[in-house]
Amino acid sequence: MSAIVEVNNLVKRYGDVMALDHFDLTIQPGEVFGLLGPNGSGKTTAINCILQLLTYDKGIIQLFGQPMTPTAYQLKRKIGVVPQNVALFEELTVQENIDFFCALYVADRKERRRLVEEAISFVGLEDYRKFRPRKLSGGLLRRLNIACGIAHCPSLAFFDEPTVAVDPQSRNAILEGIRLMNERGCTVVYTSHYMEEVEEICSRIMIMDRGRAVAVGTNAELKAMVGTGERIRAEVALLPDEVRRRIASLPHVRRIDYDGELLSVHCEQGAHNVGDVLGVLADASIAVGRLYSEPPTLNDVFLEITGKQLRD
């Protein structure tokens, strides 16, 4: 099956700053592809270049197997975009906004009426269809922003941080909606700062940094790429310094913390980490209350790959 998005060697400069540094991207049909990266890593720039909103210095972009150009309206009609900033007409109602943006893709009025109704119900704005955007809460605005981007039932949808500043209920509804769209055949490109969201819905993930793709793979593949392993937590009433030193000297232990009640052991990838830690505690006849072993999160992977240094 040919890729739905194919980007090769994309270069984009803002003066002396290299926003995209020979960036490559391949997305297969049916994927929910997560694009992760710190602020300024080039996620939004990459999307804007792919969609021909921005000029670029070099590179080849193909969508649906065809070259993407600013006037490729046949391709544009198959694409939906939910921008990072809410982009709506303040003067139009919820229904009019969705109808307006849907009309940029679908000419047939009857068909559009059906699509607009579906979009309104999809984002749960049935009770607000006559409201102007200024009357809507942040979460409702985000949902309207999404409805305007996907009302025409695109085959490929770009979601650029759609859940920023929304409450957990709205976030859950948005993620459910994206999952449903994907089940109906829409390929999704999803950017976010929220690792748990990406982990939850994306089938494949790319981590970007300084305009480059630094890691690509499934959730499990990414976790396997890094040294960070599980985190072991054990309820321990008393932990002598000698025992603490012995745990710290175990082969895959990176760091240990103890607050008088809870022992946390941060490990590297290893097959017997839990057994090794429990063995030391048993040797010292230390009783263990509850014990937890947590695998590494995407956040751990992200921080290990991109570093902990603050970004702009």
């Binding site: 969609l51 921005l54 000029t55 009609r77 975009v81 139009l92 981007g149």
Partner: protein
């Protein structure tokens, strides 16, 4: 496209701030003009001269009273507005109080006498008192001359009175003069200010198209970025935007025209259809200005609004909007630098409406309309150059 057109139209109609300059401004300013120009127009429109008559016994027996009666008959030719007084003192008191412009009486031999106020303005408008005095003096003098002439004729050749109609024709001035109108309407200097106001209002109306165009520009509005990603081509987007903007601009000018025509009472040469056509052309020109400004690269919305406001105020100066000295300046510029004046859309609109009012035929109006259309085409071309294949290094 229909939905996008309707959506754009709704968006513009509901953006109330656009109507401050495009609609409220011409309505308010034309109302102010109406009160400002009221006295000036009064000064150029003839009103019958308020005249006191000493209606004593001699007056009733004199031939002059019949002449005065004739001149004060109601109708378009009414020259005198007569107020009768029983005594000369009462008539003089009316003159001194300013109630009348002069006093007519006859002496014991039936010869007319005129008493007028001192050479100061009677109505508070310079020159009007002089005109009224001249009218009264002319009436009395003409009567005396004709009476003398008839008396001479009766003494030298009484047979001429056998044919009274010939005598009447000889004394009638109609045989020697013919009233011909050189202009379609009686020229009123003040109408040009209203026409200049329409020039300014049309240019301010360019804000509508400018705002609409900015809503299609990815670097100026998030909505513009979203629209640029859609499946509607840039050409169609521009067409729809211009059509909706034109409709709103034209509606504003049409409402202002109706107000100025019906409430303020400004004449457009009784050619309301042609005037509306002119308004439509002015609205289209405003759209082209708005498109060119809206498409101007590397200038934000605030900067564009500033350029439009500043430009409109400057161009309106050379259309003569700000008073008589400015009107003279505009005329001077038009005489000495006709090309420069033709390039000023505010002046072109002002002249277009004045040509409707002033000229008998529509040829000059057609020329002005064509000039406006040419300016519009050039400005649209400029907008297209800016917008064609416009892509952004950053947004």
């Amino acid at each position: 496209m229909g939905t996008v057109f309707l959506g754009t139209l709704r968006m513009l109609v509901r953006e109330r701030s656009l109507f401050v300059w495009a609609l409220a401004f011409p309505l308010i300013l034309s109302t102010i003009f109406m009160f400002m120009f009221d006295k000036i127009d009064e000064g150029t429109v003839f009103e019958p001269v308020a005249t006191a008559v000493v209606a004593d016994e001699a007056w009733g027996e004199s031939g002059f009273s019949a002449v005065v009666d004739q001149l004060s008959q109601p109708g378009g030719d009414k020259l005198l507005d007569i107020r009768e007084f029983a005594s000369g003192e009462a008539a003089r008191a009316a003159l001194e109080s300013g109630e009348v412009a002069g006093v007519l009486r006859v002496d014991a031999e039936g010869r007319p006498e005129v008493e007028v106020a001192p050479a100061v303005s009677l109505e508070g408008v310079a020159g009007l008192g002089d005109v009224n005095r001249s009218i009264l003096e002319t009436v009395a003098t003409a009567y005396l001359q004709n009476a003398r002439l008839i008396a001479d004729l009766a003494a030298q050749n009484p047979l001429v009175f056998a044919d009274l109609s010939a005598v009447e024709a000889a004394f009638s001035e109609e045989g020697y003069t013919k009233e011909v109108s050189l202009t379609r309407s009686a020229p009123r200097e003040t109408v040009r200010f209203y026409y200049a106001l329409f020039g300014m209002a049309a240019l301010f109306g360019a804000q509508i198209a400018m705002y609409a165009i900015c809503q299609t520009q990815p670097n100026l509005s998030p909505v513009g970025a979203r629209r640029a990603l859609g499946g509607l081509s840039r050409g169609r987007t521009l067409l729809v935007t211009v059509a909706a903007s034109w409709l709103v601009s034209f509606a504003c000018l049409a409402v202002a025209f109706a107000y100025v025509r019906l409430v303020v009472g400004v004449d457009f040469g009784n050619r309301d259809g042609a005037a509306l056509l002119g308004m439509a052309a002015a609205a289209l020109m405003a759209c082209s200005v708005g498109c060119a400004l809206g498409a101007l690269p590397k200038v934000d919305m605030g900067g564009k609004a500033g350029l439009l406001t500043g430009g409109t105020c400057l161009l309106s100066l050379f259309a003569g909007l700000y008073g008589q000295p400015c009107m003279q300046l505009a005329d001077e510029v038009a005489r000495n630098f006709p090309l420069l004046a033709s390039l000023n859309p505010a002046k072109a609109i002002c002249d277009m409406f004045y040509s409707l009012y002033y000229y008998d035929g529509l040829a000059v109006f057609g020329e002005k309309l064509a000039l406006l259309a040419a300016t519009t085409a050039v400005l649209f071309a400029v907008a297209m150059v800016f917008m064609r294949r416009q892509r952004y290094a950053s947004i």
